[in-house]
Amino acid sequence: MAAGAAGGARANAKDGRGRDSELFDDAFMARLEYLDIVAKKRFAGQTRGERRAKKLGAGLEFADHRSYSPGDDFKNIDWNVYQRLGRLLIRLYEEEEDLYVYLLVDASASMAVGDRLKLDYARRLAAALAYITLSSMDRVSVLPFSTSLGNRLVPARGKAQIFRVLDFLSAVQPGGQTSMTDAFKSFVHQTKRRGLAVVISDFYAQDGFEEGLNYLRYNRFEPFVIQLTDERELNPDLRGDILLVDCETGAQKEMTLTPRMLAKYREAHAAWCDELEAFCKKRQLSYFRTPVQVPFDELMLRIFRAGGFLA
């Protein structure tokens, strides 16, 4: 049914919304339905909302006590405790909220080197994650970033919102340098609702990734790191005298490539990736690394198997 709805919406989107029909074609929508079914089977019977924000408020479930402060509502004073201990304590209840999933999609120039394979992959992956989130009746927001945070898709809820997500992702254009620090600083300042911050990027950030991810952590977002790599970047078919130009900064470096230097480059790239992975593991952040040559639905299954995304 969702597939049918998706197909009909897609037909409408073709008429006027400018959605990328090649990126989000019918086959892609069918894969989303498939992933949704797989996700439901996988997590059936498990407790939902492990990652729900523990906001104390007007809920039904007792959570804790705290000392009375002037101005507190008298109705929340636990008189039984006062009778036994002679202290005024306020009852605290856990307030249940919807989960907010923020999809931070890297739209810097490095994601579009060559044939935009990484950017397309990131957009598909974001669309799939958004679909799963929306089908779980959670809220999803998409935020492309590069040098700074770009326009965002305000948090949406309900499965029908997937088309807004697709349209928004279709409109994302690459460009600019990757600056996670600035972008994530803006993100945490602009976002009041905490939630799952899924960072989809190649992490080719001139200023590093640590500070940006820490911003998320320190502001009680839960970073979910997905690093995209391209096999062609790891094994460039280059030889001889070349002039390397950084696609984001325009910095140029002359060099003569030899097989030995290429091996060194691969080692440096692996070290870079290992640094990111070690950073995430050390801070208990979910981390996935995948080449864009792997189909995105396989990555989704890996994410489901590993757990930690929605379940």
Binding site: V113, D202, D241, I242, L244, V245, A251, K253, T258, M261
Partner: protein, 652 residues
């Protein structure tokens, strides 16, 4: 260090040019391919590690340029052929080369070299011997050879050279179409050898020949250090050594043929002489045809001797006659040299003369002219005579007819009133003077004529008196009237009033008169020999002379100088000369007829045989005596090193 090749300034120029080009190419090589990468800091890590490793790594790019400049420098210095006096081996002074030996290789290509022996001509054997000689001396760079073709016109085919390839090619060029039909002009060959060997150290003349030429003097042998490589084996041969044809003196249409045949073998042989005629024939094959046979005549040839034969009353059409001699069919002896078996003769074509006898009646004149085979006689009375048109000669016998029209007139006892002024009669004139050199007096003795009377004709200026009586009274004289074009022979007495008709002189005088008006009818043959420069009277108009010869003869070039034409033909046959301005053709017969050439059995010239010189062992040059070789090796090594390191990216 000194440079034996280029000068120092030239070397610097070369180095500047090539080194500059190398630097330009090196700079061009540094224009790099632009590659866009997503994250340059990763590459920066690689570069930092690479660049900071060692000083050599920082310097290896300019080092690569320096290596290439070093290669250029090595090559340029090698071009200079440097000599290092102090370096081991480099002070090598090669020993003085042995004296250059000069061998004048003279290959006989005369007619006798066409003798067939064992399926090969002697010329082919001579070429093989010459090739072998060149092969034996080619290992010595100080042995120079000149190849010369020896025949009637000796000609050098190479300069002095030790290039074996050129020498072999020249040997193959010796009479490429076979031996010529010309005799050996050994004197000319020896003169060329003297000139070529003059002031040449260790010079020698080597003749590859069958020796069919006159003996060489001992002085020449010694002076030229003559060596002979003999070719040929003793063999039998007969040949025509003389062939002549002449018409009879009475101007008849028959000829007398003179033939001399030589037998150059130790055995007597029977032979047959064949005569052929072909008025359009040029080559031998054009004549040797049974259909053109005039007659055959048996000859008995003594051993090593000759037979001369005169054949009378030979009649044939046209003007071209050929004689061929062959050993009789019942004699098993084979004639090894067929080229001298044929001789050609060219005789002036003879025709009947149209003669008009204008007379009142003269039996003597009538009978004398009537019996001539070459005379078509028409006897006319003065009334019937209309003029000289249609007649070659008009005989006017004492009658008064017009004689001013252009023509040939034989006037006997001229009548008054004609072109001759008669002053009276002279009784019983006695011959006092006879110009024996005049054509009219040829073979004629005008004695005891007992002339009864003669007319006293007044001679004019330009008249040639052949016979005169006392007092200068002309008896026989000639006159050429340039104004009218009339030619006259005048006899001032009536033959019937003398004993002239009774003497042998009368018919001879008539022949001489007719021959005076038509001298071609009395032509004699002059034999022309192949291979020699001929200088012949040219009867045609025009300077561009074309020559058409026998089909197997090479092209003959003729040049006209004044009234003569010069040409030389190497093949026997009849050659026709023509010009663009003249419709007529002039024929020339060329024959071999050389007794020396017909002696085809090898003649011992008494010279030493040629012996191959011992091989010359040159002292080998120490390899290191040429520094340029060493420099080239070093440059090669550096190139290999550069190539190796470049492909391993060590020097990048």
């Amino acid at each position: 260090m000194t440079f034996a090749g280029l000068t120092t300034s030239e070397l610097w120029t070369l180095f500047g040019a090539f080194g500059g080009a190398m630097v330009v190419l090196y700079i061009l090589k540094l224009r790099r391919r632009r590659i866009e990468v997503p994250f340059s800091p990763l590459w920066a890590r690689v570069l930092e590690e690479k660049q900071s490793s060692s000083l050599f790594r920082r310097l290896k790019r300019p080092f690569s340029l320096l290596v290439q400049l070093l290669i250029v420098a090595l090559l340029v210095v090698a071009l200079g052929d440097p000599k290092l006096a102090g370096m081991a081996g480099c002070s090598y002074e090669p020993p003085a080369p042995p004296p250059t030996r000069h061998t004048l290789l003279m290959i006989d290509a005369s007619a006798s070299m066409a003798t067939l022996e064992g399926g090969k001509t002697r010329l082919a054997k001579a070429r093989e011997a010459a090739h072998a000689l060149v092969d034996e001396v080619k290992g010595n760079p100080h042995h120079e050879v000149m190849v010369v073709q020896l025949d009637a016109r000796t000609r050098p085919l190479t300069l002095w050279t030790s290039d074996a390839k050129a020498l072999h090619a020249a040997i193959d060029e010796v009479a490429p179409s076979g031996a010529l039909d010309s005799p050996t002009d050994v004197a000319q060959g020896l003169a060329l050898a003297r000139s070529a060997l003059q002031d040449r150290e260790a010079g020698e003349l080597v003749m590859v020949t069958d020796g069919a030429f006159p003996a060489i003097s001992a002085a020449d042998k010694d002076a030229l250090h003559l060596k002979v490589i003999p070719v040929g084996e003793p063999t039998a041969n007969i040949g025509i050594e003389a062939f002549n044809v002449r018409p009879y003196l009475d101007d008849s249409l028959t000829y007398a043929v003179f033939v001399a045949v030589h037998n150059a073998s130790d055995q007597p042989h029977k032979a047959t002489l064949f005569l052929y005629a072909n008025e359009k024939g040029r080559g031998v094959d054009d004549f040797i045809d049974p259909a053109r046979l005039l007659g055959s005549y048996s000859l008995d040839l003594p051993a090593n001797g000759s037979v001369q034969r005169i054949i009378d009353d030979v009649k044939f059409p046209g003007s071209r006659l050929a004689a061929r001699v062959a050993i009789a069919t019942d004699d098993p002896t084979r004639d090894a040299f067929p080229r001298d078996d044929v001789a050609l003769a060219l005789v002036p074509e003879r025709k009947k003369l149209a003669v008009a006898l204008v007379t009142e009646g003269n039996l003597f004149l009538n009978a004398t002219l009537f019996v001539r085979e070459n005379v078509a006689l028409t006897t006319l009375s003065p009334a019937e005579y209309k003029g000289p048109e249609g007649f070659d000669v008009v005989v006017v016998d004492g009658v008064d007819v017009p004689m001013t029209a252009p023509g040939n007139y034989f006037v006997i006892a001229p009548a008054p009133g004609g072109p001759f002024e008669v002053e009276g009669l002279v009784k019983e004139p006695q011959l006092a003077r006879l110009d024996k050199k005049h054509p009219l007096a040829r073979f004629v003795k005008l004695a005891d004529l007992n002339i009864l009377e003669a007319e006293k004709v007044k001679t004019a200026r330009g008249d040639a008196v052949v016979a005169a009586a006392g007092g200068g009274v002309p008896l026989l004289f000639t006159r050429d009237d340039a104004e009218t074009g009339a030619r006259y022979v005048v006899m001032t007495f009536d033959v019937r009033k003398s004993l002239l008709p009774m003497s042998y002189a009368f018919p001879l005088l008539m022949v001489n008169v007719l021959g005076y008006f038509h001298p071609e009818a009395a032509g004699l043959l002059v034999p022309n020999r192949a291979g020699v420069e001929l200088s012949l009277p040219m009867a045609l108009e025009g300077d561009d002379v074309a020559v058409a010869g026998p089909a197997d003869a090479p092209t003959v070039h003729a040049r006209r100088l004044g009234g003569r034409v010069h040409l030389a033909a190497d093949r026997i046959g009849v050659y026709e000369l023509s010009t663009a301005k003249d419709d007529k053709r002039q024929a020339v017969a060329v024959n071999l007829m050389d007794p020396e050439e017909s002696e085809v059995s090898p003649q011992d010239q008494g010279a030493e045989p040629w012996v191959a010189p011992p091989p010359v062992l040159l002292e080998t040059d120490p390899w290191l005596s040429n520094v340029w070789r060493l420099l080239l090796l070093i440059a090669l090594g550096v190139v290999a090193l550069e190539w190796l390191t470049w492909h391993r990216r060590w020097t990048l």
